[in-house]
């Protein structure tokens, strides 16, 4: 078994291991899950090393010659008659996403330490979910991709419906149904791509060699982009996100907002723009405009929220808008910014949801007006919240800035197929979010953590426990490392993006 398969097999094996533990042994279940995800974090690190080792001998590695090359590939026929293969491998972007996912799930398990109700099923489903996520990131066969995609989406229904809070059934239903609609669009797109290429292969690298008819691209691209956009909270298909995240249990929100929503941007870039450059050319400006709405709209929406989770969810809508905005910019800076923002927002939002879960576990409320002055009793949580908030508003030195700077520069340099005045105008509008984000972050966090303590009961609450400190500390460390040493991540994700951008640049009318 190779590294890429290990990424999928390990969480699945952990899920089975969890199932094998007697339900009464709640502590064992947690420890098994933690061990499995911890091991996965280590294995992801090793896989990254293996990837570097495999990739670095390629001379001119960061440039065009080897762009689009896969590493650590494993290929087995699955349904040969339809050209479906078990094709897994990694490149820089997927490696980065795998690292992000392993970090988030590890911290998610730590943050779920308090789950007592049907813990076994909870952790098993969580691990199944994350298996799907890992699978999506390592699979390079569209069919396999879709299978994993569905595996990633479906356990969410149970996780929210059973372990959620509030109007959980409605939220679970809404989330699942909307995401299923997205999946349906994706499937239509995939099948169109497969069929138009002769129906012989789902292999992404081979499909990339096929030149699709521009007329076909013109309608398949929006289908695929919208399909992924639903998961990436593209306006106006984002409304599952606030309800879903608000109702989901902590670890699920972390994983969902942190990683699953990234599948949208990942797919839109990886499959939408990569396979359909001419479709992207036709629709780039339109989607830039739509995602500009996303960015501002989510930010303004967050201002009015009183529930910490809704607050974070709207902020996610805004930040995921940056991802899709970067993708729609159709240039290297934008694409890089999109991937960096995926990682950055993933860590940041996972941190937020973990912290909200911890605050909620203590105060039993998430309503900002009922909180206040929590920094006095929970300095650790408050500090982490503020660091997350600062990352969210793009403070340099934390990961958000690097990503947003790329996205803004990408938008400013412009979609090569659209009038530069338009893309610049859109970018300027998008940059307004920098201020709006500052407003809502400071308002929300200020009301919750600063000021006088509003509820005297809160004075008796304690700060983070050791597991909570570990979980949030890791995420904060990731934010800082990604912000202070952005080169690490950029070196990792840049080469595959050249492949995407080179295809765009090769188009007639391109730069």
């Amino acid at each position: 078994m190779g590294w890429a398969s290990a990424m999928v097999v390990l969480p699945l094996a952990t899920a089975f291991a969890v199932l094998a533990v007697p339900a009464a042994r709640a502590a064992w279940i947690r420890w098994v899950a933690l061990a499995g995800t911890g091991a996965h974090l280590v294995v992801s690190g090793l896989a990254t090393a293996a990837y570097w080792q495999a990739a670095s001998p390629d001379a001119d590695f960061a440039r065009t010659a080897t762009a689009g090359k896969l590493y650590l590939v494993e290929r087995h026929a699955w349904f040969p008659s339809l050209g479906i293969e078990y094709l897994v491998g990694v490149d820089g972007v997927s490696m980065a996403m795998v690292l992000l996912t392993s970090l988030v799930i590890f911290c998610g398990v730590l943050a779920s330490w308090q789950v007592r109700d049907r813990a076994k099923e909870f952790f098993a489903l969580l691990l199944l979910l994350v298996t799907g996520v890992f699978g999506v990131f390592v699979s390079f066969d569209l069919f396999l991709f879709f299978v994993f995609y569905e595996i990633a989406v479906l356990p969410m229904y149970l996780l929210i419906g059973i372990w959620g809070t509030g109007r959980k059934e409605m939220a679970a239903m809404k989330l699942t149904l909307m995401l299923m609609v997205g999946s349906a669009l994706i499937l239509v797109g995939f099948l169109a791509l497969w069929w138009a290429a002769g129906g012989r292969t789902f292999d992404l690298t081979q499909l990339a060699r096929f030149h699709y008819d521009p007329a076909l691209q013109h309608w398949v691209f929006p289908v695929v982009f919208l399909g992924f956009g639903v998961l990436g909270a593209l306006y106006p298909f984002h409304t599952w996100s606030p309800d879903g995240h608000a109702s989901a249990p902590t670890a699920v929100s972390m994983l969902h907002a942190g990683v699953l929503m990234k599948l949208g941007g990942y797919g839109a870039l990886r499959i939408g723009v990569y396979l359909l450059p001419e479709g992207a050319r036709d629709w780039g400006l339109f989607f830039m405009a739509l995602t500009t709405i996303n960015i501002l709209y989510g930010a303004f929406g967050a201002i009015r929220q009183t529930d910490l989770k809704y607050f974070t969810a709207y902020s996610s809508v805004s930040h995921c808008g940056f991802v899709l905005f970067g993708v729609a910019s159709l240039n290297l800076l934008g694409a890089k910014g999109a991937v960096l923002q995926m990682v950055s927002h993933g860590v940041m939002t996972a941190l937020f949801f973990a912290l909200i879960g911890m605050v909620y576990g203590r105060t039993h409320t998430r309503m900002i007006p009922e909180l206040g002055g929590l920094a006095r009793t929970m300095p650790w949580l408050a500090t982490c919240f503020y660091i997350g908030g600062m990352a969210s508003l793009g403070l340099p030195g934390l990961s958000g800035f690097v990503a947003e700077a790329h996205v803004f520069l990408g938008g400013f340099f412009g979609n090569p197929f659209a009038p530069v005045a338009w893309t610049r105008a859109l970018t300027v509008v998008a940059t307004l979010s920098v201020v709006v984000t500052a407003v809502y972050v400071l308002r929300g966090l200020g009301a919750a953590f600063q000021g006088p303590v509003r509820d005297p009961e809160h004075l008796r609450l304690g700060d983070a426990t050791l597991t909570e400190r570990l979980s949030t500390g890791l995420l904060v460390a990731a934010l800082v490392v990604a912000g202070v040493l952005p080169g690490l991540l950029i070196d990792l994700v840049e080469p595959p993006l050249f492949a995407v951008v080179n295809r765009l640049h090769a188009l007639p009318g391109g730069p």
Partner: protein
């Protein structure tokens, strides 16, 4: 021997690195362990950094060839962020006279404030946190000063803003402090948006130029100051096609750059955050909101000076904004009651002075830039001293309301003496530092061909003397007007010593030939003191003193009468022209109620409603189908039959059609 052989010049990065290291150490390790130790380590690190800063300055000046302008060096830089080829961002240290000067100012004031804070903040619950953030601020400010490119500057620019935010909101359980910190952050953030857009705009324009230049661009990156300052680049930028409203990217970019600088330096109309920022601990006000961070805007304009000078009309905007702010803030300063607020408006006014000086360079003579930096240099010391003095008063009397204080000169003689010295310095009395720098600013205005600005400058000098004398008299003379100020005591030595050091600096800083060092090529040399300027300025200051002495020196009834006579004007000044209220109205009513609330409503009702509507439609269809699911097998049979017959009918129809 040249600069290359100086260890500290080569390794100037150590100066910001020390506070950063200390920040990490204090913040992560020492803070929870031992607060006192944390404070001591933080102060020691910055003190070491200050020593290195002085060493750097000496080496830099000593090794410079005598007759030539001082060199611009980048002895150290590493790749930090690679956007794309030609747009690589390095972290590095840019050494030129201005940055070395600022390094000295920042490290010195910061070290003194650290020491002062050791006593001032004693017993505060967040002692360790305070020093950690103060360290972070020092690091960021040094990074800003030493930035070799716009992006490093922006990065540190944001970091100082964040440190300022955390320090203003240090007493996080006080709603006023929280509100002030948010206000400061959001307002400066709004201005930073200008800087960000300027970076985007200039980055893109300069990147295009760099592409045009081809090989001659060398390894220089588009956003490096070195590249942006090149004559060929500036010429190319100036000849680009207009991007918006007839302005080139250069002009627009410089305007936006100035917006950023104006926000940080609290120029009108973005000044509203600075007076509120006084909610933070007073040493913080001294360091951040008087001596260092708020001058970042001035420094930015000075740093990007070649760009601004090359852009049409931008310096005129700088001049107008600076002049207006100087006058406006000085006038408001005359009516405020809180000691720290008076000082804050004084800071605003002095920052306006510096901007004004920068703005006078539109005629081509960059003397104003030197004057601005010189004033920045002297202002840092006397204003920090004023704040630390105010801090000592606050520390002793627990109130900053000048009408509650009075007669402190007997209880706090040392503080009184130092405060008096700083008051004289800021008013511009010979031979204290303010005299020299103010003289240069006014001279630049006069010789730059701006007599009106010169006249306003003189007026501001008078007003400055007036309001400083007013608070000085009210606080230190007369009798204690409230119980609180009756039982005060002198500040401890740890607080007085840094103040003393600052006093020495404030006294002698005027003799440092700063403006000669920082002068750009082409600056007209003018020797000595221009009494044509200094005479009226001193006269204005003395007039201000006289007026204040008459109104506040003895019978306070005279001031009441004067207030009554001024009537509405006084009210407007006292309420700062209701600008805060205007902003609040815009924020609350417009932004929250007219934008955010409708969007939230729109999202729930329309967007989500549509989604729910689609869901409902599906469910209605389902209900329709469900109605057929009666459980009645006979109904099913009937439907099956109907279906079968329909199929037959279709076949029949198809047969007919075929």
């Amino acid at each position: 021997m040249t600069c290359d052989h100086s260890a500290i010049v080569q390794h100037a990065w150590v100066i910001p690195a020390l506070p950063l290291l200390s920040f990490a150490l204090v913040g992560l390790v020492l803070r929870p362990l031992n607060a006192r130790l944390a404070g001591a380590v933080a102060a020691a690190a910055v003190a070491l950094s200050a020593a290195l800063g002085w060493w750097l300055a000496f080496d830099y000046l000593q090794f410079a060839p005598p007759a030539e302008p001082l060199p611009t060096l980048i002895p150290w830089q590493v790749e930090w962020l690679r956007f794309q080829d030609g747009l690589r961002i390095d972290a590095g240290t840019l050494l030129d006279p201005a940055s070395v000067l600022l390094v000295v100012v920042v490290t010195t004031v910061s070290a003194l404030v650290h020491v002062y804070s050791l006593a001032y903040m004693k017993g505060e619950p967040g002692y360790g946190r305070y020093f950690a953030v103060l360290n972070l601020f020092t690091f960021s400010m040094l990074g800003l000063v030493l930035a070799p490119n716009l992006v490093q500057m922006f990065v540190c620019w944001e970091l100082v803003g964040a440190s300022s935010f955390f320090l203003i909101g240090f007493w996080y359980d006080r709603p006023a402090a929280v509100a002030a910190s948010k206000k400061a952050f959001v307002v400066t953030r709004f201005a930073d948006l200008g800087l960000l857009l300027a970076i985007l705009l200039l980055g893109q324009a300069a990147f295009d130029v760099r592409t045009q230049l081809g090989a001659s661009a060398g390894d220089s990156q588009a956003l490096d100051f070195a590249f942006l300052g090149r004559a060929d680049v500036l010429a190319a930028l100036a000849h680009q096609a207009p991007v918006l409203g007839g302005m080139t990217a250069l002009t627009l970019g410089c305007l936006l750059l100035f917006v950023g600088g104006a926000g940080k330096s609290a120029m009108f109309p973005l000044h509203i955050w600075l007076p509120d920022a006084m909610e933070g601990p007073t040493p913080v006000s001294a360091l951040i909101h008087a001596a260092t961070m708020v001058v970042a805007g001035v420094y930015l304009v000075a740093r990007a000076f070649p760009l601004l000078a090359a852009a049409d009309g931008v310096l005129t905007v700088v001049l107008a904004v600076g002049t207006f702010t100087a006058l406006f803030a000085a006038a408001i300063g005359c009516t405020q009651d809180d000691l720290k607020r008076v000082l804050a408006f004084s800071t605003l006014s002095q920052l306006g002075y510096m901007m004004l000086a920068l703005g006078t360079c539109g005629g081509g003579d960059p003397a104003g830039r030197s004057a601005a930096l010189f004033h920045l240099f002297t202002h840092a010391f006397f204003k920090a001293l004023l704040f630390l003095g105010a801090g000592a008063v606050l520390h002793a009397a627990h109130t900053g309301d000048v009408w509650h204080l009075g007669g402190l000169r007997r209880k706090m003689p040392l503080t009184h003496a130092l405060f008096l010295l700083a008051t004289l310095a800021i008013a511009g009395i010979w031979p204290l530092s303010g005299f020299f720098s103010k003289d240069e600013v006014l001279a630049a205005a006069l010789h730059g061909g701006h007599p009106l600005v010169f006249a306003v400058g003189l007026g501001v000098a008078g007003l400055t003397a007036f309001y400083m004398a007013r608070v000085y008299l009210l606080v230190f003379w007369g009798e204690p007007r409230r119980e609180a100020s009756a039982h005060v005591h002198e500040a401890p030595l740890t607080m007085v010593l840094p103040m003393g050091a600052l006093a020495v600096l404030a006294a002698v800083a005027g003799f440092v030939p700063v403006s000669r060092w920082v002068a750009l090529p082409g600056t007209a040399e003018h020797a000595g003191i221009d009494w044509l300027v200094a005479g009226p300025a001193t006269a204005a200051a003395l007039a201000g003193f006289g007026a204040a002495g008459w109104l506040y020196g003895g019978d306070l009834g005279r001031s009441d009468a004067a207030v009554a006579r001024l009537g509405r004007l006084y009210g407007a000044l006292r309420h700062k022209f209701w600008i805060d209220e205007l902003y609040l109205w815009v924020a609350r009513k417009v932004m929250f109620r007219l934008v955010a609330a409708p969007i939230a409503w729109f999202d729930r009702m329309v967007v989500d409603g549509t989604m729910h509507g689609v869901g409902l439609l599906t469910r209605l269809c389902g209900a329709g189908v469900q109605a057929a699911q009666t459980g009645q097998a006979q109904a099913y049979a009937a439907w099956a039959l109907a279906g079968g017959l329909a199929v037959v009918g279709l076949l029949w129809a198809a047969g007919r059609a075929g």
